[in-house]
């Protein structure tokens, strides 16, 4: 009997281990909140004391102090960031512990938010307002805040005029173009204005034996990034901004977008395996001069393509207008962006660190290949060069925050990801209705949750 019980217990334990996945990092409790409040109270006074010591000595010597920084950066951008950190350490005597989370960054940060135990400084990667705001320090009073250009402020400033992150580079999202493929197919990408023009160009590219569009439907971007073209911007088919933002929007209008995207499938513009590939595959194929466009992607894509094959000529054009006279636009999102945990015990050190980053961000900007946002950034990155080239052809390009970040409640990105997969699998009318219903339900749910959160 005892033996049986022992065996049953062993099986029970094995089964319990399956739950570890869902149970980790879910420690939201009154205790943690209370502990955080205690920490805040004590850290406030400690920080004030330490700060006054620093000021009394009239230097930025923070010897003996330590801060923890978390980053998702990798490769050259991380190397550039490390150089900035090393410079700060040697100048101030601060010891920095750098957590390099890489691809696990978002998941790890979610766990750390749940336990209300965040790094002193961390990257906000496009989510300073929607996801991280509750945990961030208002930085609008910092010196560098006045230096941020309008493109950056349009993305990181909330309705009260507060900003919570130092955005050293911006990500510019448009349509990536492989100029070599276009040239071989006799297509002038600079002449593309509307989606009809775009499809005409795609027909020519396909006839020349290339794949016109490398968009992949494993990403939400395939369904979400270009939506402003039909729904939100000047001259768009619908002007639904207000309704989208106040939660009264009728998702039936979304069918226009699905109907258009269906032409990509019907006309054979996409890769056969567009439902299972990812960005790495798209980059590799573009570097092999196999495909022409990818719609709704940041300039880091072109940077990666050229890194793989320096002989490829890449460019960027805006996302098309849904009809003649409509706005051709590019989305601007947070690139390398750094915020400070509101409950940090080292507030003065963290602010000094961000000041240092703001003054020395040029290396990060150059490595990231994105667009500059601060006057200290003098290197014209690859992304910036492409943007300037684009503006010389399209002087009236319209810039806005990334569509989902501006118009959708938090949590919709993953909903779009699922919907993209559904659409890729089946573009029938029934499927479209199912997708719209799925988007509507989740939007309403998440909108209500966002309202509750305030």
């Amino acid at each position: 009997m005892k033996k049986k019980w022992a065996r049953t217990t062993a099986v029970f334990c094995l089964a319990v281990s399956s739950l570890m996945l869902s149970a980790c990092g879910s420690g939201t409790s009154a205790e943690t909140t209370a502990a955080a409040a205690d920490t805040e109270a004590s850290s406030g006074s400690e920080a004030a004391e330490e700060s006054s010591e620093g000021e009394a000595s009239g230097t930025t010597d923070f010897s003996g102090r330590e801060i923890e920084i978390a980053t998702y950066l990798t490769g050259d951008t991380l190397a550039a960031y490390k150089e900035v950190i090393a410079g700060f350490e040697s100048e101030t005597g601060v010891k920095v512990t750098l957590d390099e989370y890489g691809e696990d960054y978002e998941n790890t940060m979610k766990i750390r938010m749940a336990s209300n135990d965040l790094p002193d400084v961390f990257e906000t990667h496009g989510w300073s307002l929607i996801r991280y705001k509750e945990y961030l320090t208002d930085l609008s009073g910092e010196e560098w805040a006045d230096d941020l250009n309008d493109a950056a402020l349009g993305v990181i400033q909330d309705t009260d005029g507060k900003i919570y992150t130092l955005m050293t580079t911006g990500s510019c999202l448009g349509t990536a173009v492989n100029m070599d493929v276009c040239e071989a197919a006799g297509v002038d990408p600079w002449a593309i204005e509307t989606w009809d023009d775009f499809n005409e160009a795609c027909d020519k590219i396909k006839a020349a034996g290339y794949t016109p569009i490398a968009n992949y439907f494993t990403s939400a971007g395939a369904l979400a990034n270009a939506d402003g073209s039909w729904l939100s911007y000047e001259g768009a088919v619908y002007n639904d901004n207000e309704a989208i933002l106040n939660g009264t929007w009728d998702w039936a209008d979304f069918k226009t977008i699905l109907d258009y995207l269906q032409t990509w499938f019907d006309n054979g513009y996409l890769y056969e395996d567009c439902g299972t590939i990812g960005q790495t595959d798209a980059i590799e194929r573009c570097a092999r001069n196999e495909c022409a466009f990818i719609v709704g992607i940041g300039t880091s894509y072109q940077t990666a393509v050229v890194a793989l094959n320096p002989d490829v000529t890449m460019a960027m054009i805006p996302i098309c207008a849904s009809q003649e006279g409509g706005a051709r636009f590019c989305g601007i999102g947070e690139g390398a962006s750094f915020g400070i945990w509101k409950d940090t015990e080292e507030m003065d050190v963290c602010k000094a660190f961000l000041n240092y980053v703001a003054e020395n961000a040029d290396g990060i900007n150059a490595a990231a290949g994105e667009i500059s946002t601060l006057p200290s950034e003098t290197t014209k990155s690859y992304g910036m060069q492409m943007m300037e080239e684009m503006e010389s052809h399209y002087p009236d390009v319209f810039y806005d925050n990334l569509w989902d970040r501006k118009y959708m409640p938090a949590g919709m990105w993953s909903i779009f990801e699922v919907a993209a997969g559904m659409f890729c699998e089946d573009q029938s009318e029934e499927s479209k209705q199912e997708i719209i219903e799925y988007l509507r339900e989740n939007y309403q749910d998440l909108y209500a949750a966002a309202q509750e959160e305030g």
């Binding site: 094995l14 089964a15 281990s17 399956s18 879910s26 939201t28 494993t218 299972t276 993953s414 990801e417």
Partner: protein, 290 residues
């Protein structure tokens, strides 16, 4: 056993119980608690919604599809792993030159992490420039989109998982075979049993403890399959090759539905418990002592 000895033995098990309590019982309790809330997984605000997450399970197509996949991964992998593993064990149990090398080769895949195995297989089964398609092209066969459908992806994942874990099964069966005294086989053969009869009537019953261990371990491993799926199909196409373990992770971290994810976790726990306990009990009842 005197009381003092009992006390010592009991105290020796305290660290194990403590670890099980901290890393299994506490998370289980926490998952159960969270499953009654609507929570995005990181906010300090949680809203109690009672059984709503559990009721949502019934109308969630992805949950049922993932459950079906989980059964395929669990039972399919167990079946294949045990067939391959036992066959391999019988083969390498014989005396031949290079036997140790063959054992090593057969055991090697299990030493590779599931994540890396999935990534390697991705490049083999890829539609565009995949190793397998390139090989088939040599014979004039057109590219095949192996992972176009959910069924194709699930079968490929099951096969790869079975092949990878086969070495583990082989090791268990090899140990089991080497523990069977030769006299039973010899006695059976003297009594006129054929090779197959001796195998099924003598070896298999005496291998039951090894079979129990292999089946239960493989079954639970298959039910919890996660890493290969992440790098091979990422749950696609259209979330059709998800296992429940991966679905739990996606719900929690990607979809920001931590409460619902916990409810799915509890469901997985119940499924594993309901399936593993009777199978374990049945297999144990078939064991013989020698």
């Amino acid at each position: 056993m005197d009381k003092r000895k009992k006390g010592i033995l009991l105290s020796l098990s305290i660290p194990a119980f403590l670890l099980i309590f901290i890393f299994m019982i506490v998370p289980l309790g926490n998952a159960l608690r969270v499953s009654f809330f609507k929570w995005n997984g990181f906010s300090q605000n949680m809203r109690f919604i009672g059984l709503e997450n559990y009721l949502s399970l019934f109308s969630d197509k992805v949950f049922w599809r993932s459950t079906a996949n989980t059964f395929v991964y669990g039972f399919g992998s167990t079946l294949l792993q045990n067939i391959f593993g036992l066959s391999a064990a019988l083969f390498v149990n014989k005396q031949f030159k290079g036997r140790n090398f063959v054992r090593l080769i057969l055991y090697m895949p299990i030493m590779i992490s599931g994540v890396i195995m999935g990534a390697i297989q991705y490049y083999i089964f890829s539609y565009d420039n995949g190793v397998l398609n390139n090989f088939l092209n040599l014979f004039g066969i057109e590219d095949i989109y192996w992972m176009k459908s959910g069924v194709g992806s699930v079968l490929i994942i099951t096969l790869i998982n079975s092949w990878q874990a086969m070495g583990f099964c082989m090791l268990i069966y090899l140990a089991g075979l080497q523990n069977i005294p030769k006299m039973y086989q010899e006695a059976a053969r003297l009594d006129g049993a054929s090779k197959w009869q001796a195998f099924f009537k003598v070896d298999i019953p005496l291998l039951m403890p090894a079979i129990t261990t292999a089946v239960i371990t493989n079954l639970i491993g298959g039910f919890k399959l996660y890493d290969i799926i992440v790098t091979l199909t990422n749950g696609g196409p259209n979330r059709k090759s998800l296992s429940l373990s991966y679905y739990i992770s996606l719900l929690y971290f990607n979809d920001e539905k931590a409460g619902y994810s916990s409810a799915v976790g509890i469901a997985l726990f119940v499924i594993i418990f309901i399936v593993a306990v009777p199978i374990n009990r049945y297999l144990r009842s078939k064991e013989v002592e020698f």
